[in-house]
Every structure is written in structure tokens, then in C-alpha cells.
């Protein structure tokens, strides 16, 4: 029995690849920002919004284009990867509810990029199926 209904654009073969790719992309970008800024939190660095967010949005766009089904999952996975990277970089868990809300707000460009990539991917899959 299939785990979920197949739709145009469903890459098949399980779902862990896009989860892993988006979480790793978020974690690597945040860790790279922390390392290049000398240990500051990624979100406090000057390059987070002009470089980090576009880079992560581009990653989500590509992942959502290739795996267009329920693409919001990839952005959530990326937010989780960012949180893990920030914890690894020495952030405390004192304000974790606030951190989760802020992370979701900061992830708005990734959600939008995922939506755009998903629509393009579905359109391509549908035209290929015809």
C-alpha cells in the first residue's frame, strides 16, 4: 500500500532527501556565517539578511522545484537546521519560544521561494504528464 497518493511532480523514493538537504543547507549557512563573523550568532551578523537569507531561499526554491509536494515542509526543516546550528554555535535555550517564532518570521522569504518553486515544479510535471 503506497504511503501517500502520487501526484504530478512527486519524485518518489521516500522523502528524507529533501528534508536532509534543506536542514543541512540551513545549518551550513548559519554555521558558515557564525564562523566567518568570529563566533557571533548567525542572525546577528551583517551578512545574514543580504547573503544568508537569499542563499537559503535559493536552496529552498531548487528543492521545492524538484520535490513540489507540500513544499512548506522543506522550509520548516531548514528552520530546524538553523536552530540546531545556532545551538551548536553556543546559543542558549532560555528564550526558545521566542527564537522559534522569530525563526519562522525570518523564514518568510524561504516560504515564498518554496511556494514559487513548487508551483513551477508542478506546472512542469503536469505538462510532462500530458
Amino acid at each position: 500500500m503506497p504511503r501517500h497518493r502520487r501526484e504530478p511532480g512527486d519524485a518518489g523514493g521516500g522523502d528524507y532527501f529533501p528534508y536532509a538537504a534543506s536542514a543541512l543547507a540551513g545549518a551550513v549557512v548559519c554555521l558558515a556565517l557564525t564562523i566567518t563573523s568570529g563566533g557571533r550568532e548567525a542572525i546577528d551578523t551583517a551578512a545574514y539578511f543580504p547573503l544568508g537569507v537569499p542563499l537559503m531561499a535559493a536552496a529552498i526554491f531548487v528543492i521545492s522545484y524538484v520535490f513540489p509536494l507540500r513544499a512548506w515542509r522543506w522550509t520548516l526543516s531548514m528552520a530546524a537546521g538553523q536552530l540546531v546550528a545556532m545551538l551548536l554555535a553556543g546559543s542558549s535555550l532560555n528564550l526558545w519560544p521566542l527564537a522559534i517564532i522569530a525563526m519562522l518570521v525570518y523564514s518568510t522569504p524561504q516560504f515564498l521561494a518554496g511556494l514559487a518553486g513548487s508551483r513551477l515544479g508542478r506546472r512542469k510535471a503536469t505538462s510532462r504528464a500530458r
Binding site: 523514493g13 532527501f17 538537504a21 543541512l24 558558515a32 566567518t36 547573503l51 542563499l55 524538484v66
Partner: protein, 75 residues
């Protein structure tokens, strides 16, 4: 120049990882191709390795391109 090369290598490694994921078989050295069905541990180990190194190379290359990081030294 090195930054662009890093980006290209990163994209190439990610392409190999994605192709291996779709095909269920990943190239991992001379004559060694672990498959998802016969050798799942090796398959997932190399898939994770390619995914991590591809993303890391890509991000490092972009950071080097904008001047935030030193490009990979070639000696």
C-alpha cells in the same frame, strides 16, 4: 576563480547525490557502488557524505565569492 571552481564542484557533488538517490545506487570509488536494497548502510553513508560536502563546498564558494571567506588554498 577558485571560488567559482568550488561552487561548480559543490553543484557537481550535489548532482551526483541526487542522481544516486533517484537511481538507488551511488558511485563510491573504483568499482564500488552501494545500492539502497543490497547495502543500505553504505548507500546512506555515502549519500550523506555527498550531501554534506556538496552543500559545504557550495556555501564556502559563495562566501568566498562575496569576500566573506578565504577561498580554498591551492598549493
Amino acid at each position: 576563480m577558485m571560488a567559482l571552481l568550488q561552487i561548480l564542484f559543490g553543484l557537481g557533488i550535489l548532482a551526483v547525490a541526487y542522481h544516486g538517490y533517484r537511481a538507488g545506487e551511488i558511485p563510491a570509488g573504483a568499482g564500488y557502488r552501494p545500492t539502497r536494497d543490497e547495502n543500505p548502510a553504505g548507500f546512506h553513508c555515502f549519500l550523506t557524505l555527498y550531501l554534506c560536502s556538496g552543500i559545504a563546498l557550495l556555501v564556502w564558494g559563495v562566501f568566498a565569492l562575496v569576500g566573506l571567506a578565504e577561498p580554498m588554498p591551492l598549493s
